[in-house]
Amino acid sequence: MLANIKKSLVVLLLLINVFFVGQDWVASTNIADRGAYALDCWEAQMALVRDSLPIKRGVVGYISEQDVPGAEYGLWDIETEFFLTQYALAPLIVKKGIVAEWNVVVLSNKDLAIWAKTYTGQYKIIDVEGKVHVLHRLEAP
């Protein structure tokens, strides 16, 4: 009796797991894009930023909606864009805030205008593409 149960269990274990492998195969045949396109687009934009920066090492600042009072944003989106920027600009170190001579700005024109009011005349804004800009400090802080 026990011997038969054991035999059945081996067969059952094998069949269930073969079924799972098959199920994974079916599920894998129809996967939609999982963010690869968006990541490629971001990389392409940041390649333009890299070209417009005269430095190849060191720290660059990073300004996003987080730095604009009253701006609406999703925290996770902001974080993802920040880490994507770091990934794209390596070996430059990207640090949040206006912390360096050269800074990457990811802001819509409306938010950029609000943010720039605080720093009138201190920075030169270089438009790169879409909401991506580069900011060059004109005077020592």
């Binding site: 098959g22 195969w25 894998s28 045949t29 390596a90 990207v94």
Partner: protein
Amino acid sequence: MTISSFFIFIPSILLGILTIHLVWPERHPLTLLLKLSLGVGLGLGISSILYFLILQVAPGRISIMGIQIILATILLISTAIRERNQKWNGVYLPRLSGLQWGLACTALIAFVISTLIFANIIISRPQGEYDAWSIWNRAARFIYRDPENWQATLSPDIAALGHADYPLLVPLNVAWGWETLGGETLKVPMAQSALFTFAIILLMFSSLAVTRTIGQASLASVVLMASSGFILNGTNLTADIPLMFFIFASVVLMYLFSLNRNSTLLVLSGFMAGLAGWTKNEGLLFMAISPIAVIIVSPKKMSLPFLYYLAGMAIPLAIILYFKSMTPPNDLINSGNSLIEKVKDVSRYWVILKSLSTVILDAHVIVFTIYTVIMQSHPNHSSKQGIYTVATLLILQLLGYYAIYVITPNDLAWQLVTTQNRLIMHIIPPGLFLCFNIAADPETIFS
């Protein structure tokens, strides 16, 4: 580019296989298969260490590929000279029964399907998951794009979630792969991840074929391939699958030591544990707990095995200590006084237990545990010792993860949600290896 991304790893793999064969000259075909699977990880581990040393002395000026080819050639000649005088007469392929053929073919078909699943998933997300590009390939880019200034990847200015203190085995292999191919291509991290993923399956098959039977090995391999998230984890392009490999390899080698008392296996086990620590911080935990298992595996004369194990661990440990002297402190160390408060907070223990139990006690695990209990065989003394050793390692690793959750400075709920599945995944292969060493094999059941 896809083919060449795999080809560039051949000298590393050869280096690993030949190193194992030189120090452990066992010639049975199944043992050779085991050496092949162990050699994949060992070779990639050695290559990353070599490249790390090059970065210290002459970054960007010495060809890592050239060094690997020279070393592999030396090892090949040494092996050829030694094997010329050896007798291979007694070495033959095992004759398989109908049942064994059936199970082995099923495993082979599952293996082919798994490679297709891997390809399908990785095509849909070639950059891998979030951690792949924000941590591992980010570090690889720092090293490849500016090797002379590679230490920038360890800068404390890198955001906390970029984890500048994480070990470099995975990024270093990607960086030297790009250096060899002369350009950044995602095919290199994909190839590395594929090698580790399928080496784990091969390691499962070959280790159980050596310790048990072909039928048991085939069954275990199919169960591993069907484990939810295993193949998917491989396509994430993070360091979890390489870490899984090194933990599993160290466990298998320690189990084999319990069976045949060959000290070389213990040295190799220690080296693999060291490479686990060189792969990911969770591997450091394994490095810390695994020497305790040596006491279980050799309770009466523990000092010599202990020394062998530590000797194996010495080189990776030295590299890790040197590396850690350059990195910003880990966020766990940064938690300061709040650490004691967290240890005293009983509610944290309950939250962690509840959360981890949802992962550990899922339907697959419960069903498989029942299977193991019903199917248990009667192992001999040395097998029993090996089983106790593996069980101890798994329990200690779990307790270690538990302790880390208790003291984590990050939000506990967030930390649990984002990490618990992959932490448990790290110990699934050794867990299956343990269960299939306890359970009776299909050959016995159907005889």
